[in-house]
């Protein structure tokens, strides 16, 4: 049989249709390159623009890397945990028991804390083993920021879970998308001041920008920035309340359509 361009076009069309109807594939094509370019572009730009030597540069970057994992883990524990129930078609099994939604929420939040402690210990150990850098060399002033990051991880997790509980596995890439969405605006590796003005406005609305600025301040000055910490906790409290309300609202909206479709 001769080579047919018609069949080649059919293959291409099939891929185009899959691309347009699959949220995950769309994200792969557009979202991730954008996030990577923003995040690493800004970091490179900061390093290039810094005329003076940045004190403890490697430690600053490593601290950002390790502590951003806290947001990711606390968030995944909620959103991926929920997604796994959907994937295994066990959502009805779980919520046809006496388990209440508040108990589920509390359980996954606590799991986020446990997982975070493990990840933090592991991350700090890896940095020590590979780079002989001690992230806690500035005392334990970074610990309160860890809790603030867990809280923000919960916010991100419940925002993702709110969509998953309604849409099911059609939005299965959402936990990863959501966790990284805030990274470029959180000033994880570079100062907020480096961002364009309009992005600075977004960054200042995020608790993570205060957290990472505060952590860099601890590394630079050795002093605990009370104001940054208070701002991050205040914003976290507001966002967590809103995220929980949204999750509960979407949970009930999903229940009205029936959990058996998930």
């Amino acid at each position: 049989m001769s080579f047919s361009m018609r069949r080649v076009r059919a293959v291409m069309l099939r891929n185009i249709m899959a691309e347009l109807t699959n949220f995950g594939r769309l994200m792969d094509a557009i979202y991730w390159p954008t996030i990577d370019i923003m995040l690493w572009g800004m970091t490179s730009s900061w390093l290039a623009q810094s005329e003076q030597q940045i004190p403890n540069l490697v430690l600053v970057i490593m601290t950002g890397l390790v502590f951003w994992q806290i947001v990711m883990r606390a968030s995944y524990e909620i959103s991926v945990g929920l997604l796994e129930e959907v994937w295994s078609r066990s959502f009805v099994t779980l919520f046809s028991t006496p388990l209440s939604i508040n108990e589920w929420i509390f359980g996954v939040m606590l799991m986020g804390v446990l997982k975070t402690i493990l990840v933090l210990l592991f991350g700090v150990g890896i940095v020590w083993a590979f780079y002989t850098l001690n992230i806690f060399s500035f005392g334990w002033m970074l610990i309160p920021f860890s809790f603030a990051l867990i809280m923000f991880g919960w916010v991100v997790g419940f925002l993702g879970a709110a969509v998953i509980v309604y849409k099911g596995d059609r939005v299965s890439s959402l936990p990863w998308v959501f966790a990284f969405l805030f990274a470029p605006f959180s000033a994880v590796y570079y100062p907020v001041a480096l961002l364009p003005n309009w992005l600075q406005s977004i960054a200042l609305c995020l608790p993570t920008s205060y957290i990472f600025e505060g952590m860099r301040s601890v590394i630079a000055t050795g002093e605990f920035p009370v104001k940054d910490f208070a701002m991050s906790m205040g914003l976290n409290a507001v966002y967590l309340t809103c995220a929980l309300m949204l999750f509960r609202f979407m949970f009930e909206k999903s229940r009205a359509r029936g959990f058996d479709r998930l």
Binding site: S88, R89, T93, L94, S96, T97, G258
Partner: protein, 257 residues
């Protein structure tokens, strides 16, 4: 069987927005009771509203209106309390596939406040009864359809519920295992006075097991009687005695209930 209702459903309605912008009524103002120690069958063609009804009785689907009471207690206000006494199994739901059967069942027991060695022994007892003790250490995702159905039945009965809701409990089982499962369910009714609400498309099974049958059609209950009484409502198309299946086909094809 005593006439004490353990489950009372009053004017239960479920509507969904339909694709044409209107409203689709899946369950239309149904009322019934399940009595202590009774096996009540819920029959109807596909789309009649049986699964929606069961889902509302488990609060995995919100009712549009109406009331449900378990042991006289308002279910929508005391969900956790009520579900403590309710077991559920369905062919269409599952448990996390990466956990072993035993771990899944232990976790399930914990959601009912059970735990420890006593729980493990209870689970082993029910795994033995349903002939699936050998799969206890297997990952749940490796089970065959029949094994999975039996594990779900273990899940439904292991918490020693007073009421069990079963959505097609013998679907995907071979005739021998299905027979054993039916015997077990009837034994639970006889010996422990467990009340059971079950859906099935197997008319012989319903005839054998159920004290009473509710027939649903287009979201409404169109008949409520014993299997024998329902069968006697129609004239058989053959010379043999009419069966519940004859009655079911009569109603499903639009005949008068």
């Amino acid at each position: 069987m005593s006439q004490t209702p353990v489950l009372t459903v009053s004017n239960l309605v479920k509507t969904f927005p339909s694709t044409d912008g209107g409203v689709f009524t899946a369950v239309n103002n149904i009322s019934f009771t399940l009595h202590h120690g009774e096996i009540l069958g819920l029959l109807g063609p596909n789309g009649a509203g049986k699964t929606s009804t069961i889902q509302m009785l488990l609060s995995t689907l919100t009712a549009t209106s109406g009331e449900v009471a378990y042991f006289g207690k308002n279910f929508f206000k005391h969900r956790s309390d009520c579900l403590q006494s309710v077991g559920f199994a369905s062919t269409y739901v599952s448990m996390p596939g990466n956990f072993t059967v035993m771990n899944n069942l232990m976790l399930h027991g914990r959601l009912y406040g059970l735990g420890g060695r006593a729980l493990k022994k209870t689970i082993e007892k029910y795994l033995t009864i349903f002939g699936v003790l050998d799969v206890g250490n297997q990952n749940t995702k490796t089970l065959s359809a029949g094994q999975k159905t039996r594990v779900m039945l273990v899940k439904a009965f292991m918490t020693q519920p007073k009421i069990v809701l079963l959505d097609e409990p013998t679907a995907s089982l071979d005739p021998d295992i299905a027979y054993q499962v039916r015997q077990f369910i009837m034994q639970q009714q006889r010996e422990l006075r467990v009340s059971i609400l079950l859906t099935s498309h197997n008319m012989d099974e319903v005839t054998e097991m159920c004290d009473r049958v509710l027939v649903m059609q287009a979201g409404s209950i169109v008949a409520d009687d014993s299997p024998a009484a329902l069968a006697a409502r129609i004239t058989a198309t053959t010379h043999t005695k009419p069966t519940l299946e004859d009655y079911f086909l009569h109603v499903a094809r639009g005949g008068k209930a």
